[in-house]
């Protein structure tokens, strides 16, 4: 029995991989307009495969962030470090983290504290070859993770996390808000009903372009869309905070105060918004153009 030519096999495999990754928007729109039960099984499987590969690409970006070493969950409390974009405090958290743990060594130890495999030659070799140290990319090096995030979005354009992560790294870490905004808008073409993409677009408009009008439009839509899907109160606070800021920028002080009140309702024990609400109400009383949300 002859072995198939290696070159032909690899060429086929690569062709299939390329074909699988370029299933076009037409197919996606066809799928999105149908109930999953109506979608042919083969397309369902292909869709799942795309999603898995896309998420693996995000994990690869996370690995790059840690110098290729494994991700240590104890350091990020079970979450991905690159996923910190969901938080306002991502930057600060990350820098704190760098201060404390920029270059650590991770090793499995026996109960008595002896390094594992000290008396086992093969394990000693494996430990010497493997990268068990841990470092974080910093400065311009952080750009190295971007290709994997980009690939993730290209492989599965419905993966909204890929778009929001990419925009976070571009805008907040690499100083390229224009590119971040363009990429988010590209994502919105195929995920118009994603509250995450609308929220991020609004945030970028507000934070980097001081364009409260556009920011308000996107953030209002995000708020509307997130009401139709599952979300937690922290995510709602995120959107409301930026929305309030955008409205304040537009001079809609009472509406902004109203948004802060909604946050207060979500977090009844917090008092940090009280001063802001009072200040906004004062401003509204002195000629503010805003009106309370119905």
């Amino acid at each position: 029995m002859r072995v198939p030519s290696a070159a032909v096999t690899i060429a086929w495999a690569l062709s299939i991989a390329v074909l699988a990754s370029v299933i076009d928007a037409e197919t996606r729109s066809f799928l999105s307009s149908k109930d999953m039960s109506e979608v042919p099984a083969a397309w369902q499987i292909l869709g799942e495969a795309r999603s898995i590969v896309s998420n693996m690409s995000i994990l690869q970006a996370d690995l790059y962030l840690h110098g290729g070493a494994g991700h240590f969950f104890d350091e990020h409390e079970g979450g991905l470090a690159i996923g910190k974009s969901d938080s306002h405090d991502a930057h600060e958290d990350h820098e704190d983290h760098e201060d404390h743990e920029d270059h650590e060594h991770h090793d499995i130890s026996h109960d008595n504290g002896t390094p594992a495999g000290l008396f086992n030659p093969l394990i000693r070799i494996a430990d010497a070859v493997a990268v068990t140290e841990h470092k974080h990319l910093s400065g311009k090096e952080e750009a190295e993770i971007v290709p994997w995030l980009y690939f993730s979005a290209r492989i599965d354009p419905s993966n909204t996390t890929a778009y929001t992560l990419t925009s976070y790294w571009l805008a907040d870490r690499l100083g390229r808000p224009k590119e971040a905004l363009a990429f988010l808008k590209q994502g919105l073409k195929t995920n118009a009903d994603s509250w995450e993409l609308n929220a991020e677009t609004g945030r970028i408009y507000q934070q980097y372009f001081k364009a409260p009008s556009a920011a308000e439009r996107y953030l209002e839509r995000a708020l509307f869309l997130m009401g139709k899907t599952g979300h937690d109160k922290f995510q709602e606070r995120y959107v409301l905070t930026w929305l309030a800021e955008a409205k304040e920028g537009l001079g809609k002080h009472l509406e902004a105060a109203d948004d802060y009140r909604r946050i207060e309702a979500l977090f009844p024990r917090t008092t940090v918004y009280r001063d802001k609400i009072e200040r906004l109400e004062d401003l509204a009383g002195n000629g503010g153009r805003g009106s309370l949300r119905k």
Binding site: M1, I10, H110, I123, I125, A126, A128
Partner: protein, 256 residues
């Protein structure tokens, strides 16, 4: 010795005459050129993914060449009955196995060297620093990896069909690369019989993870300590010698 060299030369010429290696070489060059030409949002000096994917492609292509070539040597000789005139010459069955192994290894090294040259070219133009020591180590360990692969495929070829051999060799490679770490952790964390069982598996499987410097090269980690390279070399020699010994024993007893 002359007989062994003649058999080895025959295998080596096979890789030169067939188009597989050239096609893969072009495929590697084109893939790396496309990867290098890709830009991301105007960001500069983004090159790790090129080094990473390039290394993976280079390893994969070399593996495919080594397995496909080594696996078909003995079964094809037997199937085409060309093994009989070969045995009629002044060469023992031991000589045939060793000659086939040496030929397959040299062919694998030749193709790997070509792939490595392409990889090195793109590595340099990607703006990577001069990690000469690490590059040298990755070339050396890459060769060791292929010597191991060829030995495994030749060993299987003494009692398996070509298709079964290729499948098993590749599965063994991927299993070892993917799960060696987990088996290692199991050896350390388990106790009693479980520890012995895990330890046996750990010692039995070929450790392709010893040869993989992809992460070190991609992320600019330091080179391996000399003792580690020496240990990996010794491990490879011992493992290959054992496999070739077993191959000779099996082939010597085989009814042709």
């Amino acid at each position: 010795m002359v007989g062994i060299a003649a058999v080895a030369k025959g295998v080596l010429l096979e890789i030169v005459r067939k188009k597989d290696m050239y096609v893969l070489l072009i495929l590697l060059g084109v893939s790396m050129a496309l990867l290098s030409a890709q830009t991301f949002f105007g960001l500069e000096n983004v090159s790790r993914y090129v080094r990473d994917l390039g290394y993976s492609l280079m390893t994969l292509f070399s593996l495919v060449v080594a397995v496909a070539l080594s696996a078909r040597q003995i079964p094809e000789e037997v199937e085409r009955r060309t093994v009989y005139p070969l045995l009629a010459k002044p060469i023992s069955r031991y000589g045939i196995i060793v000659g086939k192994y040496m030929g397959a290894s040299l062919a694998a090294i030749l193709s790997f060297s070509c792939f490595f040259a392409v990889y090195f070219f793109f590595f340099r133009i990607s703006g990577a620093g001069g990690e000469w020591g690490l590059l040298g180590q990755s070339y050396l360990l890459g060769i060791f990896s292929l010597l191991m692969t060829a030995a495994i495929a030749v060993f299987f070829s003494t009692f398996l069909t070509v298709s079964a051999n290729v499948t098993l060799s590749l599965l063994l490679y991927f299993f070892s690369s993917a799960f060696s770490g987990q088996v290692r952790d199991l050896v350390i964390s388990s106790k009693g019989w479980a520890s012995y069982a895990a330890g046996s598996v750990y010692y039995l499987i070929p450790h392709y993870d010893f040869y993989d410097l992809r992460i070190r090269i991609t992320h600019g980690w330091e080179a391996l300590p000399v003792w580690a390279v020496f240990s990996v070399s010794a491990y490879t020699v011992v493992y290959i010698s054992f496999l070739i010994y077993l191959s000779v024993r099996i082939f010597s007893r085989r009814q042709l």
